[in-house]
């Protein structure tokens, strides 16, 4: 088909300078987060034409709701755990898959344990930030923006794209898979990120005729949402064109079917989202930063079965993803990292669950990692004033290592500072 001239060839960012608004919502307003910068007043986006330092790829997996770190990387020998969690501790300790004398993985993380045995898993313990908030939404924003002072509105990955990559003509540089909206981590107020809920249905009903009509309809749209609309359509059209090619040449080399039935059915089909991520990676679409989400981790109630099932669901999806990448010879390029807004309270509640907590471990998976436990084991006996685990590693230390060491981006510029190093990469690409 003939490519539309006009918006498709204009820089998406140019459009967005015309005024993109982001509604932070009432909760955001109350939290002092609602700043909507005047797009014109912002510094001009510094596009680096050939800014891609390497062809490494990052896949962030959000465990939304606050993942229980103590049930993910289980302390095996600390008797205090049984005092704090009389209902929850027993089976989780006895069934854990030992990594060291003192720590083991949740028993449903067998696939990830297998990757650990092959030297593909690094775990950073005690990750958090000072003066933690126990609000999901505030803490999610802090992790997404990489800014505990809550001034920043763009996401840390959105800023990475803006500063390090030229996404014009590369709609898939940053992509959220398996969702309908742009995750905060990828948010860049001056750019439209690609979002694909399901590649099988992504496209215009009615085909290229509709595609062309809509391309003509959404051009120079006036008003505060005009640029956002136009770039969303242009991005969709670019993405459809790219996917048309990639779908034809991708054959999954792993079984992505869900092997675990969750207690509460999932809104996010994690395995399907990771399969789409794999497709984008192995077919050379130029994808750099991918984001997927698995919800359901807010286990205030009957945590025992729910969390174990979530671990199994995560494990089967990540295992298939790694196997697929590996079979396609791409495993050495891809770093998989989990994140969650907080861990959970060490002491369990009356509902057989745990309330919002603070520090927790993060998993880093893939060929680029140097296997091992990093950070510091949080103490179960010296909790903070709210009864929560004290953090040992600032989450931005992990971001810094990913940005500089894996993506070759300027982490100081993106994060606005330098942090203690956590050397979980085998061969960092840039001196940190």
């Amino acid at each position: 088909m003939t490519k539309e001239i006009g918006i498709n060839q204009l820089k998406r960012r140019d459009f967005l300078k015309a005024g993109l608004v982001f509604g932070a919502g009432a909760a955001g307003l109350a939290a002092g987060y609602a700043a909507v910068p005047d797009a014109f007043a912002r510094a001009v986006y510094a596009a680096k034409q050939n800014g891609m330092a390497n062809d490494n790829v990052l896949v962030m997996i959000q465990l939304a709701g606050g993942n229980d770190g103590l049930r993910t990387l289980v302390p095996l020998t600390d008797p205090t755990l049984h005092d704090l969690r009389p209902k929850l501790a027993g089976p989780m300790v006895s069934q854990a898959l030992p990594l060291t004398t003192d720590f083991g993985l949740n028993h449903n993380l067998g696939g990830i344990k297998g990757l650990w045995d092959k030297g593909k898993v690094a775990i950073v313990q005690g990750v958090g930030y000072p003066n933690p908030t126990f609000s999901h939404f505030e803490s999610i924003r802090i992790w997404e923006t990489g800014d505990p002072s809550r001034r920043q509105v763009d996401g840390w990955l959105g800023r990475t794209l803006a500063k390090a990559y030229d996404s014009n003509g590369h709609p898939l540089s940053g992509c959220a898979c398996g969702t309908t909206d742009v995750p905060g981590a990828l948010r860049d107020l001056q750019a439209t990120m690609t979002v694909i809920q399901n590649q099988k249905t992504f496209g215009f009903t009615g085909g290229s005729e509709v595609e062309a009509a809509v391309g003509a309809l959404y051009k120079g749209t006036p008003g505060i949402y005009g640029a956002l609309f136009d770039t969303a359509i242009a991005t969709a059209n670019d993405t459809i064109a790219t996917l048309r090619t990639s779908t034809a040449s991708y054959q999954p080399m792993a079984d992505y079917t869900d092997k675990v039935k969750l207690v509460y059915s999932s809104k996010n089909q994690l395995a399907a989202a990771l399969q789409l991520a794999a497709e984008l990676i192995v077919t050379g679409t130029g994808v750099k930063l991918l984001h997927v989400t698995l919800g359901g981790f807010d286990t205030h109630y009957t945590e025992l079965n729910r969390h174990d099932d979530l671990m199994g669901y995560l494990d089967s999806a990540v295992s298939a993803f790694y196997q697929d990448l590996s079979a396609h010879g791409m495993a050495d390029k891809v770093l998989i990292a989990t994140w969650s807004e907080f861990g959970r309270r060490p002491k369990e509640n009356a509902s057989g669950g745990t309330d919002h907590g603070a520090a927790a471990p993060l998993l880093l998976i893939g060929d680029p990692v140097k296997s091992g436990l990093y950070g510091a084991e949080p103490s179960l006996t010296t909790l903070d004033a709210t009864g929560n685990l004290k953090f040992a590693v600032d989450f931005r230390s992990v971001y810094q290592e990913i940005l500089g060491g894996h993506l070759g981006a300027d982490s100081n510029e993106i994060l606005g500072g330098t942090f203690d190093r956590v050397p979980f990469l085998k061969a960092p690409v840039a001196a940190l």
């Binding site: 014109f40 009903t205 003509a216 949402y225």
Partner: protein, 492 residues
């Protein structure tokens, strides 16, 4: 459907973005220098060919809100879930003020009872529940009640997944319709003891001895005051004070065969009469708590009344209402005025909504097209405009929302749905366009006349692109497609 051949784009590349000036200054400059604007106001409902803009980007819609008819249409767009040509005529004949009265004073039409709601364990399919609501949205004579029910569904939200009993979800929907324009004080008591909410935020399993903080926190953070207006200690203390509520007992127990092959049966509760949770004194906290600055024994009503005594509560609710009904970024002074009126009325929601609809800000040119229709609003508006109110349309709408980010009874999280700009992504715009195609396919035979659609549904304020495509459309079906898929129709 035959689409007009798409013309070669004649729009020139926009000039380099102006730096250091605001969008509105750029627009004013463009107008002053006669460069032209990207939106035109078409009078008399006829579509005219207009000169293409050479600097469309950065221009704004020209507000028609100086005319009362445009104010009426905006009111309907923002408060109802769409209208037919006949319904619009009634509102235009009544005028703005009378239409506001009618919206606020007409008691909500109850939806037909959902027979499946007495299914043991509430185990009927969620699409059945979704379609039951959508069907009512499509046919109700009081669509404002549905708009408000949707607002409260996103505010005092629960999802069917965790609630795990669709009868309770159904009840919650009935509750917000009945209470939509009542008073925040009884609404807060109702949401606290609502059976779906008792499960969704775990209050039903909390005890005074070992409280679960989930409901306590979200009651303050998301339902009333907003983050930053209470302490972590307040969360813990009110969790104690609120503990003791449990699910209501069922009307009966049914023995249900859950596995016909292995002949496995299960005893499931059957609920036929809607009622709130019950308080179990034995699970309650015995003693005094220190909550929001006061110490002493405290029950659930006491927690609610202390929250209502905080100035932050009215501000938080007023701010959210303004974002959903008036403008994406309401000014602090406007929110303060609305909050003040809400507080003085002792939290009467109807008073708040009347204050919103009669405020100068509501009809101000600066608020014109600053709100985005949620997926449900967009789809129901479209279907009502097309007269597509059959069961097929209801089924389509109930299913199509998820790709646009809104699946009823299944909010993304406890903060409900986001609004405005958050509705736009490369995935959701495609799904919105696809809905236009599929909704038209629901209309067998001829579609309603689209001759006047630019006036009746787009205020006659169209971008040059929309104008062009409508002008070139060969038939009414194509005109409806362009209209429903247009950026103008996504806005309200």
């Amino acid at each position: 459907m035959a689409l007009a051949q798409v013309p070669e784009p004649t729009t020139e590349t926009p000039p380099p973005a102006r730096k250091g000036i605001t969008r509105r200054q750029a627009l004013a400059a463009a107008v002053a220098t006669g460069v032209g604007v990207g939106a035109v106001r078409l009078l008399g409902g006829t579509i005219q060919n207009i000169k293409r803009s050479s600097a469309a980007t950065g221009t704004d819609w020209v507000s028609p809100l100086g005319r009362e008819s445009a104010q009426v249409m905006q009111l309907l767009r923002r408060t109802t879930l769409g209208y037919t040509a006949a319904q619009l005529d009634v509102a235009l004949a009544d005028g703005y003020s009378k239409t506001v009265d009618r919206l606020l004073e007409t008691p909500p039409q109850e939806p037909p009872a959902l027979a499946a709601s007495s299914t043991p364990g509430g185990r009927f399919a969620v699409p059945q529940l979704q379609q039951w609501w959508v069907d009512h949205m499509l046919t109700t004579s009081t669509p404002f009640a549905e708009r408000m029910t949707l607002f409260w569904h996103g505010h005092f939200t629960s999802d069917y997944r965790k609630t795990g009993d669709n009868t309770f979800m159904y009840w919650q929907n009935l509750t917000w319709r009945r209470m939509a324009l009542t008073n925040l004080r009884p609404m807060l008591m109702q949401v606290t003891t609502d059976p779906a909410m008792l499960r969704y935020l775990d209050l039903a399993t909390s005890t005074g001895q070992n409280p679960n903080e989930n409901y306590s926190r979200e009651l303050m953070e998301l339902f009333t005051m907003g983050a930053g207006n209470y302490s972590e200690q307040d969360v813990r203390e009110s969790a104690k004070a609120l503990a003791g509520w449990q699910q209501p007992p069922p009307d009966s127990i049914a023995t249900v065969t859950v596995d016909k092959v292995k002949m496995v049966t299960q005893k499931l509760p059957v609920f036929t009469n809607q009622r709130p949770g019950v308080f179990n004194q034995r699970r309650a906290y015995k003693g005094s708590v220190t909550f929001l600055g006061q110490t002493g024994p405290l029950d659930t009503q006491g927690v609610i009344d202390r929250i209502l005594a905080q100035p932050a509560t009215a501000t938080f609710i007023a701010s959210k209402v303004a974002e959903h009904f008036v403008t994406y970024q309401p000014s602090a002074s406007y929110v303060a005025r609305l909050a003040d009126s809400f507080r003085r009325s002792k939290y009467d929601v109807k008073t708040l909504m009347r204050a919103v609809f009669t405020s100068p800000e509501f009809a101000a040119g600066s608020s014109y097209r600053t709100l985005l229709k949620s997926p449900t609003e967009f789809m129901v508006h479209g279907a009502r405009a097309l007269g597509a109110t059959s069961a097929g349309a209801g089924k389509l709408i109930a299913a199509a929302g998820s790709g646009m980010g809104q699946s009823l009874f299944d909010p993304p999280d406890v903060s409900g749905w986001p609004n405005n700009a958050a509705w736009i992504s490369s995935n959701t715009v495609v799904e919105r366009v696809n809905f236009a195609t599929l909704a038209l396919a629901q209309v067998k035979g001829s579609v309603p006349s689209a001759t006047d659609v630019a006036r009746t549904h787009l205020d006659g304020v169209l971008s040059p692109q929309t104008t062009n495509l409508l002008n070139q459309a060969p038939d009414d079906r194509t005109r409806w497609f362009i209209t429903l898929a247009s950026p103008e129709f996504q806005l309200k």
